[in-house]
Symmetry: C2
């Protein structure tokens, strides 16, 4: 299972209690921070997400509402004595910005940071649980989306059934890898008889800030959850295009064309005091839409 | 009158609902922002201080808890369409940091910024209401304090009394400048007969982050209000010194030696959940101490 927590769902200027963009995606092992607007460290505290669990940070682009909180978070991690390494993936200039600010403060961090420049669409992270790919999205400046692919999980051994066939526990590892069992008498016990399928591997796509762009569709095809920005209501399609953003209907159209299971929308413009209309409008095009509300955990 | 509003009173890491350092000092005409930790723009909104009224920003030093909120505030001012110029006073590298971040975002601000590098102790701001001086304080990196001096105000004409002496209104401007009035018959009406003294010009000193340093005393001598950091309680004097910070007793000692009228303390370490003991301890040395509490307006 992946668990997505929205820490900030507003665009550009903090407003009406809404914060700039930040999300945390958690696996059994890792917390991945996706974008890091100003105040993210405070939001992490508020929603009880441990900073120490964050092993990698993904920054989509260098507009401030997506990264101004990063230097504060890093500094606090160091003041709290973090020692484990931190990986940061983002546009090339990010490293210079962070290092300049550490340098003028005469600060040496208590932990090592590795910066990875995003330069082409490819797998940028791979461990035993998940792979993460970056893909280009169209915005006013260089901007990246991220696709999180859980790895296929092994079948689970049904220990009671396996024992009823007198399969020794030493063989359970092989059962998990899908092998059948052959008894001393030569009888084949098919793997499916003594194992159960694990939960399906899940996929989450994060589409950052983007203009309405059908080229996204193959990149996010059939994911379990798609996060797509919806900065404006549908009547402001022209303004959305001029600012390289999307409307409710446009976000929902990408979800529909991509045949995704669920759409989450966010990055609401500061001009809107409430966001209920965003949900109503998106549902007109794609029924299984949810608002990306701060503090809510979405189980993927 | 000067009005001081504390927006953040915590050191280093935001904790227990306390924010990093930021203050606003307001005159009749201007709002001066003093330091600008992460989240300052949100605190301004919370306490109903209009961003558009801020004409100048003073950054004491380049530790993040004193300036990480600046780039976000500037960006938001621009998104809100500000046109009036903004003056920023701070260490030299600040301009490079801000300009780098604007540059990577391909952002041209809607208003002009003038950066003023602090390089020597002198008057850095002067208008018809106030002069502002910077002075060096001792911290781990280059760090500046600021002294705000209200200008002496002209006496006020007591219009009823002036009319009772048949002084024409056209002469009121000269009365305000301190001149006596001579009647047609040659009788001298002394200025003090028909004017009243204005409220006294006030002085506020902001001592940023500083180690206990008696050289500060002549710089803040007899101000109406002294803000002096008190990061630690008195038992942590050694830790305070090693980190170039001060304790409650040390802040209060500077206030006492400086013969100031009132002391406000802040920059409380994140290790303390409550700050009541800070007040108790400081008062042991200097009775007229107040805690710098967020959102409170101190009338100077």
């Amino acid at each position: 299972m992946l668990v997505l927590t929205i820490l900030g769902n507003n665009s550009a200027i903090p407003a009406f209690g809404r914060h700039p963009t930040a999300q945390v995606l958690q696996t059994d092992n890792d917390s991945f921070l996706i974008d890091c607007g100003e105040g993210t460290q405070t939001q992490l505290t508020k929603y009880k997400i441990r900073r120490s669990k964050i092993t990698a940070i993904f920054i989509s682009h260098l507009h401030g509402d997506h990264y101004f909180g990063l230097i504060g978070l890093i500094t606090s991690m160091s003041l709290l004595g973090r020692t484990q390494p931190l990986n940061i993936y983002g546009p090339t200039a990010l490293e210079q910005i962070i290092n300049l600010q550490l340098s003028v403060a005469d600060t040496t961090l208590s932990f090592p940071i590795s910066f990875y420049s995003l330069t082409e669409e490819k797998v940028i992270f791979d461990n035993n649980k998940i792979t993460i790919e970056c893909f280009r999205v169209q915005h006013r400046i260089e901007c990246w989306g991220f696709l999180f692919n859980e790895k296929k999980k092994p079948r689970k051994v049904d220990a009671d059934r396996a024992r009823s066939y007198e399969i020794p526990e030493a063989y359970f590892g092989k059962l998990q890898q899908g092998e059948d069992y052959v008894t001393k008498r030569g009888t084949i016990i098919p793997n499916v008889e003594v194992t159960v399928a694990a939960t399906k591997a899940k996929r989450y796509a994060y589409c950052a800030d983007t203009i309405f762009d059908k080229d996204l569709v193959p990149k996010i095809k059939e994911v379990d959850v798609l996060y797509h920005e919806a900065t404006y209501l549908k009547d402001l399609e022209e303004r959305a295009a001029s600012r390289y953003h999307s409307t409710t209907h446009q976000a929902a159209t990408i979800a529909k064309l991509g045949d995704v299971k669920k759409l989450i929308i966010g990055h609401f413009s500061s001009k809107y005091e409430t966001v209920d209309d965003f949900l109503k409008e998106a549902k007109e095009v794609f029924e299984n839409t949810e608002l990306g509300l701060e503090g809510i955990c979405y189980r993927i």
